[in-house]
Symmetry: C2
Subunit: 340 residues, 2 copies
Amino acid sequence: MLSDRKEKILAAVVEQYIKSGEPVGSKSLLESLPMKLSSATVRNEMAELSSMGYLSQPHTSAGRIPSHSGYRYYIDNLMGTRELDEQSRKKIESAIGSNTDPDKLLSTAGEVLAELTNCATLSTTPAGETTLIKRIEMVPVGTRTAMLVLLTSTGILKSRICRSEFELTVPLLESFYNITSSQLVGKPLCDVNIATMQTLAASVGADAFAMLPFLASIADLAKDASQADILLEGQTNLLNYRELEENAYELMEFLRKGEPLGSLISSSKSDVNVLIGEENKFRQLQNSSLILAKYSVGGHESGTIGVIGPTRLDYAKLIPSVRYLTDLVGRLLTKAIDEE
Amino acid sequence: MLSDRKEKILAAVVEQYIKSGEPVGSKSLLESLPMKLSSATVRNEMAELSSMGYLSQPHTSAGRIPSHSGYRYYIDNLMGTRELDEQSRKKIESAIGSNTDPDKLLSTAGEVLAELTNCATLSTTPAGETTLIKRIEMVPVGTRTAMLVLLTSTGILKSRICRSEFELTVPLLESFYNITSSQLVGKPLCDVNIATMQTLAASVGADAFAMLPFLASIADLAKDASQADILLEGQTNLLNYRELEENAYELMEFLRKGEPLGSLISSSKSDVNVLIGEENKFRQLQNSSLILAKYSVGGHESGTIGVIGPTRLDYAKLIPSVRYLTDLVGRLLTKAIDEE
DNA sequence: GTTAGCACTCTAAAGCCTTGAGTGCTAACT
DNA sequence: AGTTAGCACTCAAGGCTTTAGAGTGCTAAC
């Protein structure tokens, strides 16, 4: 699309701007160009790149900064795919260890990525509407109180204490065991809801009233387990970027609330996904860039890991980082499931 | 200590400054004073309050702002103890509900307090070195994998999945049950550590190797359950205070790291505790004020709830809020324990 | 003891100037 | 035709000065 020389110049502008954060002038660009040119020639080329929409100027007499399409062209055509450097890889691996608890694993993943990138990160725990219930346990801990435990086929463990109005009798426990093991274990999480629980409770006859709160709790746990948590880390890192300072509060509140993030996450495609500045549909994110990637557990896309920072991100380093991390997380979680 | 008139003037300065955030001049103060005076007289009094150390001036020709001792005097002698207004009380109660899961309860408490005060809040889950183990369960979920569950007398529930090198046999499960129910249940959490577990494991003879990882996990869970988590909420609120802007990053990182907060929390006395600006021993907090209070579960001080904000806090409102919330949390958690 | 009056202080905001990096254009050069 | 030197022009950023106004401390009268 662009001439070879224009591409080289665009790449140099992007890379220099990412490093310095200052608009890049024609003169200072000469040093980082592979060929010998005068500043005048570079100026001409830059003027053309500007009119093509790849570069922009904060004001007439300033240097150029990459526009949103400039970054886009750079990422899609010029950047190449660097391998992640040894050091970062080591750091990630040693932080993650061989953790197999999904919640913990994803939060550590977020932490290490935040530290590595100096950005905010998000990570979601493996979702699974289609995940199966592996086990349900009810352990009495008082005359009217029991501990309920739910374990899924993806290794997610949820538990809760539940109180009842009625005394826990042995027959009650037995019929709870019968119902759950015959009707619930092995079923997908999404099949379990308050309505099905009511019909199940009704089926035990006289004990229905005593049974219902426990079954309802199970439905709660199932809902909990099927919903992906969105974990945020390193939000404070965002305070270090001058270009975000103005909207720091707004941005961080947007992230904290998290709801709209859900839709964002689910809409992303399967490989690494980059959204630059205005490409984001949410106003609060339009000064920022997102790098999102999905990880797969057992062949199914299950969750997302991502980085949030200013548009001036070191994409050439961060994209491999995110890709590497999602691969690793996917592999570990898949292994954890296979092992049992 | 101070003349009646000086007290009235000091109180007015503090209150007006808390509202406006601007240094308070003698003239604008007249309106909020209960008695009729000229600005000159007020000026004389303010000059004296300054030389006594209760007020200070950003520069010679500016109004006065309360010094750290000014706030202190106000809080200790002038503020009075307002009741918490109906509206806030309602808000707190409806947010908290009748939640009985300690972790959840404390995090909601932090959230609602943050919303109410527009500050950052911290809350700790009930600690308990002396808490007793109420129940231990081991549920096999695979040939070599089991789910371990630990429940404490204070209602804290911790669970984890544990893998072993060896197959899970019925005798192994039985001897695990025997050991835990005879040696661990009923004991305080602090008695359970890796060393005691090793001796326990050794006592089962041939199965020691298979047993150890599970017992070690129990020790882990016990440690987890005995340590109070420090929960932070509403950190982004701090970005709205101009006087904190400069150190926002430093302050938020300090809070995030959290370690030093531990010592701070444990050193506080039993009623509501206020630390104003320089009274804090940590540099990062010296532009901020803390309001901390402990809640008691079953007669023992178990955890802390607190507010972190600029020195210019509405103490007269926040102190009752924190007191009310700690009382409520203490009551709910105590009730939860008594009920079973 | 209180107050009116006044000279004084000092910041914040506004305006002005200077500097310098960077531009676009033109005309000469290869 | 493509490249380059040269030059006039632009504009933000920083420094300096001015102005306005809020607030003070002090003195002398009440």
